[in-house]
Symmetry: C2
Subunit: 332 residues, 2 copies
DNA sequence: TTGAAAGCGCTAACAC
DNA sequence: GTGTTAGCGCTTTCAA
């Protein structure tokens, strides 16, 4: 591999001139720059990442801690990852995937493998927060813990999403509502988005005087069936359902039909899921989009902002947008 | 951050002794080793990754090129990624996620950001192969191109999987079969696994004298419905169906039922998908498992082998294993 | 507008 | 069993 010295020699300039030509940190005459670029092209030169990291104390790599376990809305997670990776690419960064295990954050940060971190799957009272805040490198959470500890966060405003779904159903005349939510395991770890979704749902139901029920639901056909059956047993006159569980969604709808409740004839459904999920079902479903890819990109933007000015920590909640697709029936 | 020099000073030894204690590349007396470990612990020392990469010409990072676009069996892809990441972790490597775009492989390899590459979503006649083979760093493909160019490959033996599914149906007395396969776009790019699946399916049908039809199928409910309808129009007396399309699978089964063909009463189904997909449907489905996570780990093992001895290139095809779960009816 | 040279922190000869 | 030291390839003062 060619080194910067090879380039310098070939272009008849000094190493530092090549370096500055590359970084643009000082003016280079057009003629010199041309010779350097020619040499670089001829040699196929690329700066050695390790050497650059050593000398400059930056790696241009972002660490991404994503829940890689399967089963739970893989689709959404994948979209977040895609958003982070493409956003990072556009900003000139690469992405190092980290497993969920304890040590990996400490390892990659203290060995200077990454300049910054994006952390997904945040819990309401996440144990990692103090450690993250103590880091030399800035981090952005995808999710919103109860106390952000001065860390930057970005997420869909799930509280508003839950409330907005309910208000949409209330406006259509529904008064007996249910939330078919995240798997029990997710709820029990107090995962931030599940918590907020529930809060928004319950709050709006209470404000609107609606009877309501919250059902944690396994991300499987069986889970969907169980929840629908429980729901019909406990709240037989339910007419409006909010589904925040991408995997269960199609099975929830089928199960309602099997139980003789047509959607949207007898039961209206509002889903909270990525748009492609809502539109690719047999019957298009009215939904609040989880703009996962966009949020991933925002996370990277926030990170580059923080690297410029570490004091810029902020919380950004993307407002939910509900799209009516006909799975809600107006009882008015 | 503490440096190796800080550790050396604190332990009263030389830098190289610390380095050797860390790498185990030469014997260190127990007493010295103890003092070094104490110093490391007290200082919270971690080697600077860039400095190490510069001096040793290795990064302990593996690049992973995964198709991050959504829609196409995200679940499977996620499991591959999880397998690669956990396998890499166990082998002492981190994983750098690369986007599908042209330049990224050249960028990370020629700047020495990675020691090796795992490449997913391989096409039958993949344009990237010559470039991969010319690299300084070894690579492993997940998938099997027509001509591996001397590169290492690992995948489920989809040819066998297709054949095995057909033979299972033939053995149960079915004589009119269909393959509900990957999306047309995937097929048209000649994605390796789709190609091989079709080959295995068709080959075994012909060998067994079965009437057969292959239907590329969109990864959506609509796609599933369209394929089932086409199938029933073109091959009304079909009794055995192989489904190699995780997303379509549940909708295929529902659609058969809507069309008055019970599964497995009138139509028998063998799926090719990850086990968790086959078992979490309303009716458990007889399937050939895609052991994605395991294959991801094997890919990493092969990579570490290649880094030890670059001449060890090989093709590994994992034999399919069919699990009967009751969605195939014996017509005997 | 350019060059010389001092590190950045680590590894791996080489020497004892 | 341990120490000395010459790089690895780049960035960035300092000097001109």
């Amino acid at each position: 591999m060619a080194t910067i010295e090879d380039v310098a020699r070939r272009a008849g300039v000094s190493q530092s001139t090549v370096s500055y030509a590359l970084s643009g940190k000082r003016p280079i005459s057009a003629a010199t720059r041309a010779r350097i670029e020619k040499a670089i092209a001829e040699l196929g030169y690329r700066a050695h990442a390790g050497a650059r990291a050593l000398a400059s104390a930056r790696t241009d790599v972002i660490g991404l801690m994503a829940p890689l376990r399967t089963g739970v809305d893989v689709n959404v997670i994948m979209q977040f990852v895609a958003g982070v990776v493409t956003g990072a690419g556009r900003a000139g960064y690469d992405v190092l995937m980290l497993t969920q295990d304890e040590g990996s954050v400490a390892r990659v940060t203290s060995s200077s493998m990454v300049d910054a971190l994006v952390v997904m799957d945040v819990e309401d009272d996440d144990a990692r927060l103090p450690a993250l805040q103590a880091l030399r490198q800035p981090s952005v959470l995808i999710g919103l813990p109860a106390d952000p500890h001065g860390l930057s966060c970005v997420d869909l405003d799930f509280t508003q999403a839950g409330a907005s779904a309910v208000r949409h159903l209330l406006a259509a005349g529904h008064r007996t509502l249910a939330l078919i939510g995240s798997p029990r395991a997710v709820v029990e770890r107090h995962t931030s988005y599940a918590e907020r979704m529930t809060r928004g749902f319950v709050g709006a139901c209470e404000a609107g005087g609606a009877t309501h029920l919250v059902l944690p639901t396994d991300a499987s056909a069986a889970g969907a069936v169980a929840s629908v059956d429980t729901l019909l047993a406990q709240l037989p006159d339910v007419t409006g359902v909010v589904v925040h569980n991408e995997v269960a969604l199609p099975h929830v709808i089928s199960r309602f039909r099997e139980r003789g409740r047509d959607v949207p004839g007898e039961v209206s459904v509002v889903a909270v899921c990525p748009e492609n999920v809502a539109t690719s079902l047999p019957v298009p479903v009215t939904s609040i989009d989880i703009p996962a890819e966009g949020i991933g990109q925002i996370a990277v933007d926030m990170l580059t902002g923080l690297m410029r000015d570490p004091s810029m920590a902020e919380v950004r909640l993307v407002s939910p947008r509900l799209t009516e697709r006909g799975s809600v029936r107006n009882l008015g």
